[in-house]
Amino acid sequence: MVKQALKISRVMLSVYYAYMVEYRAELVFWVLSGTFPLILMGLWVEAAQGDRFDLSPTELVQYFLAVFLVRQFTVVWVIWEFEREVVEGRLSPYLLQPIDPAWRHFFSHVAERFARLPFAFLLVGLFLLLYPYAAWLPRWDNLLLGLLAIALAFCLRFLMQYTFALAAFWTERASALEQFWFLLYTFLSGMIAPLSLFPDAVREVVLWTPFPYLIYFPASILINRPDHVAQGFTAMVLWSALFWGLNRWLWRQGLKQYSGMGA
């Protein structure tokens, strides 16, 4: 059982890795399109020169570089692929296979992480040349915790998006849901500013949503400023469990609804 699962994951990873490096230019464009945190880094570093904010320019550079990396590892696009599969009826053949189609998407995302890694580090290196004083290394325990947090953040984000993707069984434009969710994600996850710079009232509310755990939480561990670690991991697990349940329920309901359009 375990042996078979390992074999399946190995095969899928190598297949999807090969797919991903087929169009390498697309990978470079993906990395480039994630430069939003780096743009904000410039703004915040400039703003922090006057000591008006709680964080120093060095800390801000580190924070945003960490955000950039976390974002690179947690990019998810399953909803667009799933939506197309349902609308065009290409989901049907996958349903006949003895493995849940979700795993295909999952492994294609994981394999892509490895393919994009070199470009992402290249860009971080470039910015360390621009701000050499900010170079830092996470402590090894923080590094381990940070990697775990990134892995969990990726799983949670994948689960959330895949759950929304299941709406494709009922509507042709499920991605609109994700677009709205993505807005909240952009502005509340800590991508535009560390949560410590948010007004207190806003921060209190935001901490109850899943968003800060997707970016702010892993990034702050990576820059050696862990913040409520146990609470953060608990929140991630709870949100994942919630979306997992919702996802399986929608999947079963959706299959009853699915009519294999266009096939």
Binding site: F29, W30, T35, E46, A47, L184
Partner: protein, 260 residues
């Protein structure tokens, strides 16, 4: 010329008819635009709430930049992005052949084939923001009118950059996400260029001319900066338009079609 106008009318008529099939989508995109607006304001507020100011830009002036950014974003979503997605799929599937065979400019066909009205809420919200900021700053109709020209140049610049990015799909084939790159770089235009460190300013003025898209029109609206910037903006738009056209012809020499 007349033929092109007629074709344009047909293109857009059919595209809008097709999009109106999804009327509920209009409500959804309007909601998304509204959410984006609130988010952008929140992002700007984070900087200004402690009394910090982007150098030489009051809160209202920064709102003008954000408003211009939102308008351009709407323009990109209406005209640019839907067409760009088409170029890539045509190159990948080899259907670009049919476009090249048509007796009109292929650049015209590819740039105007579809239009998606879903970017219009963004344009509307952007205008409201400009109106609010402008009223607080006591701007008159003449000031708004002055900004129209640089805004038009900005839109042309954006179009040329976008078209060149799309043309690279002749070599790279599958680059559906170039739209994301374009959007990512545009994001820098949310804020006045003066808010960035020097290295960023150089990059966003000379390498990726984001400064000309939002900051320059805002400055001209505020009667700052002078004629030099307007001239530079016009020159940039003209040069980029020409380069985009040449680049497309150059790229076509490498087009080998697919699956035939």
């Amino acid at each position: 010329m007349e033929r092109y106008l007629k074709v344009l009318g047909l293109f857009w008529g059919t595209a809008i008819a097709a999009e109106l099939e999804y009327r509920l989508n209009f409500l959804v995109t309007a909601l998304i635009s509204l959410g984006g607006l609130v988010g952008s304001l929140f992002g700007l507020f984070l900087f200004y709430r402690t009394g910090y100011e982007f150098e030489g830009w009051s809160w209202e002036a920064a709102l003008l930049v954000l408003g211009l950014f939102t308008v351009l974003q709407g323009f990109a979503a209406t005209v640019l992005i839907p067409n760009l997605n088409k170029i890539v799929s045509q190159v990948q599937q080899g259907t670009l052949d049919f476009v090249l065979l048509k007796p009109i400019s292929s650049q015209f066909w590819l740039s105007t084939r579809v239009i998606s009205p879903w970017g219009l809420p963004d344009v509307a919200f952007g205008l409201v923001m400009i109106g609010y900021g402008g009223t607080r700053l006591g701007l008159g109709w003449a000031d708004y009118a002055l900004a129209l020209l640089p805004l038009l140049f900005g839109a042309l610049t954006l179009y040329s950059l976008w078209f060149m990015l799309g043309a690279t799909s002749i070599w790279f084939v599958k680059i559906y996400n170039v739209t994301e790159v374009l959007r990512g770089l545009l994001e820098a235009g949310r804020f006045p260029i003066a808010a960035y460190p020097v290295a960023y300013r150089v990059f966003f003025t000379f390498v990726v001319p984001v400064a000309f898209l939002t900051t320059v029109p805002a400055q001209i609206m505020l009667n700052q900066g002078g004629r030099g910037w307007l001239l530079a903006s016009a020159l940039l738009a003209a040069v980029l338009l020409l380069v985009a056209n040449r680049f497309w012809r150059f790229a076509l020499r490498f087009y080998t079609s697919a699956s035939s």
